[in-house]
Symmetry: C2
Subunit: 249 residues, 2 copies
């Protein structure tokens, strides 16, 4: 076999899903891979840009299986990339891949390629809502107990953090965003500027700006990322802007 | 003059500074610009990739002047890009550009191009420390009063957020990181896994993993981004990993 070459596994954040939103390093890693593993929807998003690859996709909720498939693919000698939407680490697969590879004692070199997460790409669409200290909170209680999520919302509200909310709602938890807004309103003005970014970097991209009070009554979906401003956030020429604090004339 | 064409100003997050860390969209925007405005150090970082441009750079602390120069350049008809390290919005210039353009009633189309901020690129270097709800806090008290920063550290600690710390220290505030660790330790185990990413994406890139107790005694600099784990963060094969919560066998 000659020299021992460690198997290579990239864990790649692909950003929102459009080519322009990927990093140059992500494009290189995917070009350099033979096999691309991911959730079905994300594989479909990138196939047009990387057509000559073997794709292995699994539906949602099969994350552990998907990670093991990626590790096995890399161990078999195929250069493999596991893709995640947004960033590879932020609510992505990076930690699970690292844990499972260690558990298997898999001799795989894992390289994590960072990507633009929805808090960042959605913020750019809305204006500049996160230009001060901020918190990122997912309202999905599949993996985190609801009481932990609610505690975090309360702490973020008390600290006057700007807040980016992932997974604001789904069929099974239609009222999570409403509950989240109610918690934040205990500490923050109901007129606080808020924003919703939807289908970021994809067909149907859109954003809207609202108030915390109105946000509590708004229906969102799994393609939305929600932003709650801090006490200084304002609307500037139709954009959501949190001042950094510079003084100017 | 023919049809009126609105002046164009890009506000571009360039990521850590290496070409691979830029998004494809950032590269396109810079290629499409005639004038690039930025802090001297960031201009020097990207000049090798975009040599045939007019660069306008100002030193640190001249942010308002720099933004006005970018707006004036765009108004004069030059396609202009203002660059920020990391992301354009996160502790970047996007909000100030939007505010100043509105104040001047400048007829400029401002497009914000998101980038990979140090919390995300540093996390990828360390492993996967932010794979749960997290807070991003800057310890610089130039624009935010220290008591606000300390309150936020306390709230983030209480909420068991993973914490990414920007501007952990400088000459004038050598003890800020120590104070931050002491605040977090009121609520979190001194053995909590922490990490430091330094010179991300640049010459001398390095990372180290430590404990909260040790972090309080560690000297950092303005090229470092610091990560404090949550109560579940662990070391996996030498990497800092916050589990998302998946169960596996």
């Amino acid at each position: 076999m000659g020299d021992h070459v460690l198997s290579k596994l990239y864990v790649v954040g692909i950003g929102a899903g459009n080519f322009d939103g990927m990093t140059v390093g992500a494009v290189k890693a995917l070009k350099n891979s033979d096999v691309i593993v991911g959730y079905t929807v994300y594989c479909e998003l990138i196939k047009p840009y990387f057509p000559d690859k073997t794709y292995i996709s699994t539906p949602m909720r099969r994350e552990t299986e998907r990670c093991y498939m990626a590790i096995e693919s890399a161990l078999s000698g195929e250069k493999t990339a596991m893709i995640c939407s947004g960033d590879a680490g932020i609510y992505g697969m990076a930690s699970l891949v690292l844990e499972l590879a260690a558990k298997r004692r898999a001799e795989v070199e894992i390289e994590i390629i960072a990507g633009v997460t929805a808090a960042v790409s959605g913020a750019a669409l809305l204006g500049s809502p996160l230009t001060s200290d901020f918190a990122v909170i997912s309202l999905s209680d599949l993996l985190t107990p609801m009481e932990v999520i609610e505690k975090r919302l309360e702490c973020a509200a008390k600290g006057d953090f700007c807040i980016a909310i992932y997974n604001p709602s789904s069929m099974k938890r239609a009222d999570h965003l409403k509950r989240a807004c109610e918690i934040v309103m205990r500490y923050r003005d109901p007129e606080t500027v808020c924003g919703i970014a939807r289908n970021i970097g994809r067909d149907g991209e859109e954003y809207s700006i609202t108030t915390l009070k109105e946000l509590a009554l708004t229906e969102t979906d799994m393609f939305s990322t929600v932003f709650i401003g801090n006490s200084a956030t304002k609307i500037v020429d139709g954009k959501m802007v949190t001042p950094r604090g510079y003084r100017y004339e």
